[in-house]
Amino acid sequence: NAGVTQTPKFRILKIGQSMTLQCTQDMNHNYMYWYRQDPGMGLKLIYYSVGAGITDKGEVPNGYNVSRSTTEDFPLRLELAAPSQTSVYFCASSPVPTSYEQYFGPGTRLTVT
């Protein structure tokens, strides 16, 4: 049982490039989330999904896109990378929304230069 896995662990992008951050969970959780973590700012919700085919915006969605074709996978897409997207990105999952208990992946550290 691997829990929530994220790839890659580190990535450096040039301004304007695009990339996809991968997130997979093997706990059969319906709810999945993408956060970004910036120093002194805590975690900010980017997008979330309540099940396959259903996604919604969080607090800071601009510059990002998501899809959820399966229960297991929830990739995050950056289309035109900007320096403001330099951050650590965490994927999380939750079995039911009313428990609010989330299981986090190890994170992806992204630098845009």
């Binding site: 002194g40 975690l43 929304p97 609010y100 986090f104 992946g105 190890p106």
Partner: protein
């Protein structure tokens, strides 16, 4: 707005000393409250959670937290800190079908 506040950005304690990390919440009704720990380079791990009932909650790694409605607080405690407890600690809250809100974190340094 619903929120949690961690007033201490950085705390230093000596190994073996007691620890208390502060968290205040602002919610209309009793929220669900959590403490997570993040070791360097790692994701967040749930330490403990409060939903209802007993206001003193026991968690993993010897941590506990007490829900105090009168003070709108949910402080995390540990009677004797170990060097391996050095990490960043996040308080989080949720309620009323709103998404989980995280505090900005408190970085704990443990000195010999």
């Amino acid at each position: 707005a619903q929120s949690v506040t961690q007033p201490d950005i950085h705390i230093t304690v000596s190994e073996g000393a007691s620890l208390e990390l502060r968290c205040n919440y602002s919610y209309g009704a009793t929220p669900y409250l959590f403490w997570y720990v993040q070791s360097p380079g790692q994701g967040l791990q749930l330490l403990l959670k409060y939903f209802s009932g007993d206001t003193l909650v026991q968690g993993i790694k010897g941590f506990e937290a007490e829900f105090k409605r009168s003070q709108s607080s949910f402080n995390l405690r540990k009677p004797s800190v170990h060097w391996s407890d050095a990490a960043e600690y996040f308080c989080a809250g949720a309620g009323g079908y709103q998404k989980v809100t995280f505090g900005i974190g408190t970085k704990l340094q443990v000195i010999p």
